[in-house]
């Protein structure tokens, strides 16, 4: 069970030909790209995309990735990739669901964890940088209308 987050985005993905293997299904490694696309959109929604992240002086490497394959996706299939912001204060944890756009059937479940690292020194940050926390709080305020405190 992957919890819903306090912020959610969804993006459409149509499975391209070059993602399909000789068994006519999406090769398992390609789903990571779909997660990345969704995560980029989520970060844009937060107001802290990869350009802003780099400019802030902190990098956010992936330190954990989990995928569970429920059903196979095929060439041309229209998918919805959903990303939920689950944790942000000490690490950036995102939950994903890849769904069939027509039926809503679950294709893949996933989660990623990223931690902030100072770009200049490579040092791990035990708390997320203020610039990121403030961006999340602004996004939550816009989404929930309660000054960044998720209800």
């Amino acid at each position: 069970m992957r919890a819903d987050g306090v912020l959610r985005i969804e993006i459409p993905v149509e499975v391209p030909f070059f993602d399909v293997d000789s068994m006519d299904v999406v090769w398992h490694g390609h789903y990571v790209k779909y997660l990345e696309l969704a995560r980029c959109t989520l970060l844009e929604r937060i107001g802290h995309d990869y350009h802003q992240m780099k400019a802030s002086g902190y990098l956010w490497p992936i330190v954990d990735l989990q995928l569970r394959y429920v059903r196979a996706a095929r060439f041309g299939q229209r998918l919805i990739v959903r990303a939920d912001l689950v944790e942000w204060r000490n690490r950036l944890k995102v939950h994903y669901r890849v769904l069939d756009a027509e039926t809503g059937e679950r294709i893949t479940l996933a989660s990623t964890v990223q931690v902030a690292v100072a770009a200049s020194s490579g040092e791990l940050q035990l708390e997320s940088p203020s610039v990121f926390l403030e961006a999340v709080e602004r996004a939550l305020a816009a989404a929930h209308g309660n000054e960044g405190t998720p209800a």
Binding site: N90, E147, P150
Partner: protein, 224 residues
Amino acid sequence: MTLREGSVRERHADMAACMRAHPWVAEARAAGHQAPLRVALWLNDRGIAHLLQHGRADLLAAFDAHCAANGPWPEGGFCAWRLFDHDFPVPEGAALDEEIARPPPREPWLLGEHATPTGHVFELKLPLDLALFDDHFRTAPVVPGVMQVAWALAFGARRYGPMACGTMDAMKFRRLVRPGDRLHLEVAHDAGRGRLDFTVRIGGTLCSSARLHVVPVEGDHHAC
């Protein structure tokens, strides 16, 4: 009870009375001249138990429902909630307005400190609405282990100067640290060996301990 139009003071009094009627609330105060109405709640034991068992989001949803059932907002809006327990006395006048206007705290309150034969003890109180409980976890508020390390470094720096942590070992987490807990954080610095040992205890019970390998640095430094 219906929240009626009236002076700001009357609206605050109505709101506080409305929330005092909730079975989880021991005391309530309101402040603010425009939306969101800022409301501070002092939870009783039942309220704290609900917070610990179900998390902040569920608790606030219940309060929102209570408000919705007991009258419309004069502003037609929502509330910004602050949560306290009996360890935080109800401030009066301007102090109340200032406290309610603050966002949820990001650090524990420092109640006191004293030296020990081996190190230094900081007596800490975890506010019920410590910001980190927003996401860790949404339905079961628990202090993440990494924050206990961060606090050891931050409070250790007050006593021994800023330091950076390179590695850590002998790390043990034995008991959950949760909203409202009063902690004894003991730090012991061995400058010669570059070590900062810490323990976190609640009422004598060991919650966590670790040995951090540190080097002195200039300025604030919480990285590890």
